[in-house]
Symmetry: C2
Subunit: 198 residues, 2 copies
């Protein structure tokens, strides 16, 4: 079975496109996807990688580009949405629990949908609890688990692993040790995983 | 006739891919291309947009990505090459003259080829004179013209026009007032120019 690691961080804007697309694109190529939630903000701050803050032209373009790419892929999105999100870490702590327990990808898709359709930021009310309930999880069980110190340690260790692999942003993909960055490299990454090298 | 403006700045790495691809991709869609040389470094410095300096992970990825994308498009490239180039402004001053006189696109392709095949930076010996001679131009005529104060004024005015259009990097494309950024948006931009909206 062909495999790919999908390095996902709730809070990344372009990752909306990937979260909504990767399931069908991977299935079409027979590639199995492992979702790896990490803290892209912590990683990028450590690298002095500031994509949009203080860059109004680049920020305006990003929203327009996301809207165009969403339309191209048949996805609906009401952009711009609130960004950056205040509870990025909590959203990804919940994703960390979810990916361990198997409902992570569904939760990530639900929370992105509420963010990009209803402008409800992930990781906080009402998005957080509604997304958990939508995937059959009890917020009173999951949120305390996500807030436990051990979960933050895991997320920080996974983020350090991402940095060691050469990541500098999200979404990113690693296929057979080869790093790809950006939703617009999703197809390239999956093709690489499936053995079709350029 | 469908039209697109190709905002090109010699010195941008990903623009190598576009310079080598845009002719055939535009022709395939019946789109006419106007090459608009500008000073991307001046624009990005004014916007505090620092893509790679001090970002080793992002820089290493960029070279690997350029190599993979080149292979995907059937282009040969020996990367990494010297970067950033010291004579970015001079290279684009020459391109400014060339695009006024009609030989600009050929010169830009020649200078990129020497940079990405032979690691000879544009805008200086031997790349500058060899590229001019290769496109039938006399360096003793062209270089003084490029170095004239009026040419720098033109390049700076065109760069200000780029900023007013919302540009923040290169390569960029404007089709019917719609901005696209990056070699990986070339097809989207040409499709937009040709009237195929998502």
């Amino acid at each position: 079975m062909h495999k790919i690691d999908f390095w996902v961080s709730i809070g990344s804007t372009y990752s909306f496109l990937t979260v909504m697309r990767i399931g069908r694109e991977a299935a079409a190529r027979g590639v199995s996807v492992t979702w790896r939630p990490f803290n892209v903000r912590k990683l990028m701050m450590a690298q002095q990688n500031v994509p949009f803050a203080g860059k109004p032209a680049k920020l305006a373009y990003m929203w327009r580009d996301v809207a165009r790419r969403a339309a191209r892929h048949g996805l609906s999105a009401q952009v711009p949405v609130e960004y950056p999100i205040p509870e990025l870490e909590k959203a990804n702590l919940v994703a960390t629990i979810g990916c361990d327990e198997g409902w992570g990808p569904d939760y990530i898709a639900e929370t992105y949908r509420r963010w990009f359709h209803d402008n409800q930021p992930p990781g906080q009310a009402p998005n957080l609890t509604d997304s958990l309930i939508a995937v059959g999880q009890d917020p009173d069980r999951v949120v305390p688990l996500a807030e436990a110190p051990a979960t933050r340690r895991v997320l920080n260790m996974v983020t350090a692993e991402a940095e060691a692999l050469g990541l500098f942003g999200a979404p990113s993909f690693v296929a057979d040790g080869e790093l790809f960055w950006g939703d617009d490299r999703l197809e390239d990454a999956l093709d690489w995983a499936a053995g079709a090298r350029a």
